[in-house]
Symmetry: D2
Subunit: 348 residues, 4 copies
């Protein structure tokens, strides 16, 4: 008998929420038990998101504990600072939690509190939380009760540096990520800055002096390198909806050929279903992964210099959020890891 | 034993072609036997369309008869004037043909030749060809050898007028379709007019004095009304990729309430899996059907006047092309009509 | 001696406001005396709108009467319902007012109050207010104290119907405007519906059952025709920033050739600097008028039928708002009408 | 008596060409004498570019020598490899030449021939050609006969590194430019890669292993630093039309405060009308310079580390092409440098 997982989604009105719903409505091992929203409670989900008409027949509910403890797993697709309030009781009740927000990503609570500007509600759970990047720590995910689902930029950046740092091929004091994201990364909330009239037909860097994803990435790169790193991160806003592209710059420690570097990546990711190493000197495009749980990577070494360039693209809402969360859910539940995640990207 | 259909796709390098591939790679009853391209023969399909990496392991081949006669069904996703040359031999060989181009859509060959500017190669097959709009003539499709898959604009427009004309509620001498399409409708070919630099951040009507889809729509509306119609059609170009919106204007023959009109639509399409009548006075958005084989319709009667407004949206590449072609294939093959067509639209 | 006009702008933080500033900073007869904003008072205007760096050295102020009565003319670029509160005192103080909002556009105050959902604060001034469409009533504008600057859709629609209704060539019971606008028409305010993530890559009709610009247009068309009209209006949202395209449908009363209709337009607008009749069967593009005070019109008569199609494009922020306001200011001030309005559209 | 310059534009059908026309039609010291195009000869310019209707009453002509030698200055807005064929005769005839293409930008003809894949037609003129970046070498431009107008990326990148290299504050062995351009940079030519359907709603790096602007930038940075540099350059394509953003990464040689770095920029560009240093830690947006001859720069030093981040934006068609060409023309002609270049950027 095939078991069916009862899942809850807290914060179902945002882009990560509707993306979870898009992917989960056709997941063969999942039953959507509750989709909560304080502001939309009582309203059919498909009136807010008509793409779900005919696919999901449920109503937003208040995020009450009673409702959520009936679930096997609860996803938090909420603003930062929300999940940490409900998580202790859910875990206590035996419900697993996958948090798509940043509440449990940073191990050093002081750093977290500095960057997120609030006190942490359950610092004792931070140590238990498992950072959910399966390509790095799948084994820990298997047995986790609480997953800190990685940020979108961090996913794109880490997957590009991970094999090189593990192999010791690059200088950990020379790591730069020039990252670009579509508008959906800023969420579905009323905000002048992400109006079509403000960000259409324009491009800019933002938070260049410091972005919350910087400490998250530093923490991981430190682990991969086994030593503190010097890492610079500048995010940018692309006038489009979905997709992240990260162009990574680093320096080779010794003169190793591009083919050998390529081989290093191919080997590292050889069993990974959701990381695809393109042929050397390819140029990944965000549209090639639109709507799917996939990271495309390619490697360049311009003029055969010491500086290495890695190009990484993901869909920020899928491998950068909802898709990776489901990948973690599959791992935690003993399902084949690709269950429900085998779609083809929408091109064009 | 479940039969597997061997399909061929002629003209696999265009947008309809890659969309057929996206949808067919996961169709449970289909095996892709041949994807042809004169210009790309020998090249792996997934190097041209990296969204297919890991999903389709085949190479473009020359469109030879030998290759194609091994198929059960061949799709033509070619420019107008190509399918008509290969179709006679394929039918002769027992291969069914679904033509996504316009070669077999117009019953009056003189009209076809006038609008398409060439002589028809096999006028004798035109009568046999079945116009593939299942919501109108599903029964004929079941037994067809040759399907003329409807144009994108014609699909959006016809589905909006069909119930009203059949019910005799509107004046067939007062039919207007103001239609708008994304850039993918113009195809994937080098062309200054559809460059991002030319059509980005701009909007315009085109072919306002006469577009090839006008005679196709007229022919159908005539059938639905049982009388010649006076129909005006103006297409426009939207600065985006996918989606058609058609705003239809007509006049009520008698004073019938909006609720009754709504009921007429609901009843007409009650068993249709791919036409969805939104609540009265809704505003369908193209994104709500992005990537899926679906038409969303809604009805307005401003100021309770005699003029009726019907809003219709489809994805031009799916219900307007590849999806509808697969729907026809399912019907012709005895598969459940929704097989392989149950995805959720990509929103946002 | 050349007189310099002191102008004030109330509501300088919206799109019409910044567009007034862009155009007025280089107007040779104007000095910008006050730019007001309740929320931004004290902040240099160019920190909010860096395109004005080096062009405008002033600070947002509170919209106090003291400040504004020193002006010769005050523009209201405010939400509906604001201008009517300050206008009586300004007029009393001898300041002329150009209201870019809708407060004084509708002559029948009951209709205004119904559509705008509030009581009018100074109904006695409505009769005095002059509707500022120079191509219709330039003479009245010359001597006006209070201008109701036309709406964006109304401008595009009226200029297309005006010559035909005046000439009595078309049926006033058969008037349809299918209009489309870029996102800037919705203003610069925090709003989920006009986020890039919501309206990017999508197209939809809105307010199809009734939009506030409908009574405004009806009122004018009635005047042009000399008889009540049957007019249907459906607005749509284009995934871009600037530009309105209106496709107008009407029916000829008699069989008049396209060339004669063209001649009618050319003659009507022969002395108009801001209306340009394109060659017959052209397709105006919104980008061709981006950033300039211009309306491009063209005429089609598909299949030589009775139905006539007029295509009209403007920049909603210029001929549809700030540019037309300055045109009115020029007329009221005895300046050459094109002063400060001679730029070339930004293409591409 | 004010002299009027007779100018010719060779290659008037591309984006740089139409931008020259947009700017020059209102330049008070210029008369447009000839606009040439092999393919469009005989056609009124304003039928191809309707934004010029009413502003420019001339016809495309064949690019004959007879026509061009009557000019005082000829702009080449042609593909690479064209200007070098006509330039010797024009200079001989006393006509000054401003080449917007790359024919005269690289001093080492072997490097030029390697990157541009053709033999140079007049290598003897390369030494005489003056690289037209006024902020670097205004004095040479004053007396030049032949200007090599800088590339778009090179302009954005050089202006960001120039003050730092001149001041000796940064390590010339650590220079990275992650640059992004809108579609107009690829020109107005039929090309699948820059179709709306291909590059809309997507983002990618291209030419990451080597782009033609790399040697051009290297040559200049070498001069500014007085020593060979280690420079890495990765261009990207933004789904929009106009604008370049370059994010520059370098390393400080000593611990100098952000305020002192800012002061270095402010001082270097204090007399420059077309370079604007934003307040420290600002984020320049491409829209703030849309349509104008301006570079906005800002500086960041994340976490007060050694790595410095400089953000640079220009409009690729203006400061990156036509505007800078006119700036050079003004300098060569003794006009005030800002003549005809004082517009305000189109925002939104």
């Amino acid at each position: 008998m095939t078991s069916i997982l009862k899942v809850g989604i807290v914060g179902g009105t945002g882009y990560s929420g509707v993306e979870l719903l898009r992917l989960l409505t056709h997941h063969p091992r999942v039953q959507i038990h509750a989709v909560t929203s304080r502001t939309e409670a009582g309203r059919p989900v498909s009136t807010l998101f008509p793409n779900l008409r005919g696919h999901l027949d449920c109503v937003f509910t208040q995020p009450t504990q009673a409702n959520l403890v009936e679930c096997d797993i609860v996803f938090f697709a909420t603003p930062n600072g929300t999940a940490m309030h409900s998580t202790p009781d859910l875990l206590e009740a035996g419900v697993k939690v996958i948090d798509l927000s940043a509440d449990f990503r940073i191990k050093d609570v002081k750093i977290w509190e500095k960057w997120y500007g609030m006190a942490h509600h359950c610092p004792d759970l931070i140590a238990e939380a498992v950072y959910g990047l399966p390509e790095w720590n799948r084994d820990e995910i298997v047995t986790a009760r609480l997953i800190a689902n990685p940020g979108c930029y961090p996913t794109a950046v880490q997957l590009g540096f991970l094999p090189l740092l593990q192999a010791g091929l690059i200088d950990p004091q020379y790591l730069i990520a020039d990252a670009k994201s579509g508008a959906s990364g800023a969420g579905r909330k009323a905000n002048i800055g992400t109006l079509m009239g403000e960000m259409g037909e324009s491009f800019k860097a933002y938070s260049a002096s410091g972005h919350r994803h910087w400490p998250e990435i530093c923490q991981s790169l430190h682990q991969y390198a086994g030593t503190p790193v010097d890492f610079t991160f500048v995010p940018h806003l692309i006038p489009m909806i979905r997709g992240i592209e990260a162009t990574l710059y680093t320096r080779l420690l010794e003169d190793i050929s591009l083919d050998d570097i390529q081989a290093c990546f191919v080997k590292y990711y050889q069993n990974e279903p959701f990381v695809d190493i393109l042929p050397v000197q390819s140029h990944p495009e965000t549209r090639n992964v639109r709507g799917v749980n996939m990271c495309h990577l390619s490697i360049h070494r311009p003029q055969n210099n010491k500086t290495l360039v890695i190009l990484s693209v993901i869909d920020n809402l899928v491998k950068g959020a909802a898709g990776q969360a489901i990948q973690n859910m599959n791992i935690m539940s003993g399902f084949p890891e690709t269950t429900g995640l085998t779609g083809v990207a929408l091109l064009p």
